[in-house]
């Protein structure tokens, strides 16, 4: 009886150890994203297309590195990054676009401006396993500005979601 009990205990310990290793290993490989930066644009008299009488410039670009993204923990996964926005106070005539301005081995897509909508859309991806990518630079472009837009502070939050594929 004692020998059987010891065997069961040992077996239980082994199972738990394997479970712990598996879970920890899985967590360690879970692909993660870190997003830093943003964009604030102030539009005023200096942005008139041609002085008094002219309209405001309609399109604005952020710095090429307005946002910095790190993808880590890719482990054995391939991944994609989706993009969407959630408006706080936004104008429906605004069009917000984003593009990836840095190049990384085996990271594809997102180098041409694409509209950031309210629903997740594929932005860029890799098809190579264990492809951790750091310092992915993102640039924004806004269009649709005119004097018809009431003065104010318009904000939206851009969400980047990394998904293991």
């Amino acid at each position: 009886m004692k020998r059987t009990g010891r065997k069961k205990d040992a077996l239980r310990k082994i199972v738990l150890i394997f479970a712990a290793v598996a879970v920890l290993g899985g967590v360690g490989w879970a692909v993660r994203i870190r997003v830093t930066g943003g964009w604030t644009e102030i539009i005023d008299f200096n942005d008139l297309q041609g002085g008094p009488g002219s309209d405001l410039i309609s399109s604005y670009e952020s710095l090429f590195d307005a946002v910095d993204i790190d993808i880590t923990g890719a482990g054995n996964d391939i991944w994609e990054v989706d993009i969407r926005r959630v408006d706080t106070n936004w104008q429906p005539v605004f069009t917000l676009e984003a593009r990836r301005t840095s190049s990384h081995p085996d990271v594809y897509g997102g180098t041409a401006y694409q509209q950031v909508t309210m629903s997740d859309q594929l932005f860029f991806y890799t098809n190579v396993r264990a492809n951790n990518a750091r310092n992915i630079k993102i640039q924004y472009r806004l269009s649709g500005v005119s004097v018809q837009i009431p003065p104010g502070n318009y904000t939206t939050m851009v969400y980047y979601t990394v998904i293991a594929r």
Binding site: K13, A30, V31, G53, D55, I138, Y159
Partner: protein, 172 residues
């Protein structure tokens, strides 16, 4: 054993971050800007063609006030005109001014003809959000009329250079 396994796992789980955010903020400030196209205006009082008749008034309609206005919905602006403090019309004359905004949304309406004085008077009201344009005939046409009001006070050969100030104001 079970407890220690969870203790090991939980901090690791909480570190997984699959979503990040970045804020985009667009700040649009109010704009009120104007300029006069067409340059200076020269008005000359001519002698009457027939003796005994009053000298003829002079009219100029070559200038346009071009303006851009961006402001909160429900608010409006107006344009006022006045002499510079030390300026005036030539002796025996008065200068009147009327603005004719284009009939386009937000560019306002004429407040009628005024006699220019040192007190600012409204010539356009009801300006909201607009950009009149910057072409040669864009904006509100300005018509200046120099009228002889007292022929006996005219001074032949007198040349008076005066400046009219046009100001875009928030309507109260």
């Amino acid at each position: 054993m079970l407890i220690s396994t969870w203790i090991l796992c939980w901090p690791g789980l909480s570190m997984a971050q699959t979503q990040g955010t970045s804020n985009v903020s667009i700040i649009i400030n109010e704009v009120a800007a104007g300029k006069v196209s067409g340059g200076n205006v020269t008005l000359i009082i001519q002698a009457p063609g027939i003796a005994g008749q009053p000298p003829q008034h002079a009219v100029d309609s070559t200038c346009y006030l071009q303006y851009t206005s961006s402001l909160q919905t429900g608010q409006s602006r107006q344009v006022a005109a006045s002499w510079l403090p030390l300026d005036s019309a030539p002796s025996g004359c008065s200068l009147s001014l009327q603005a004719f905004p284009a009939a386009r949304s937000g560019e306002g309406t004429s407040a009628g003809q005024i006699t220019v004085s040192s007190t600012a008077q409204i010539i356009i009201s009801g300006i909201t959000q607009c950009a009149t344009g910057t072409g040669g005939t864009d904006g509100a046409l300005l018509t200046y009329t120099l009228t002889v009001v007292a022929a006996t006070n005219l001074i032949a050969g007198q040349v008076t250079s005066s400046t009219i100030v046009l100001t875009i104001l928030d309507a109260s």
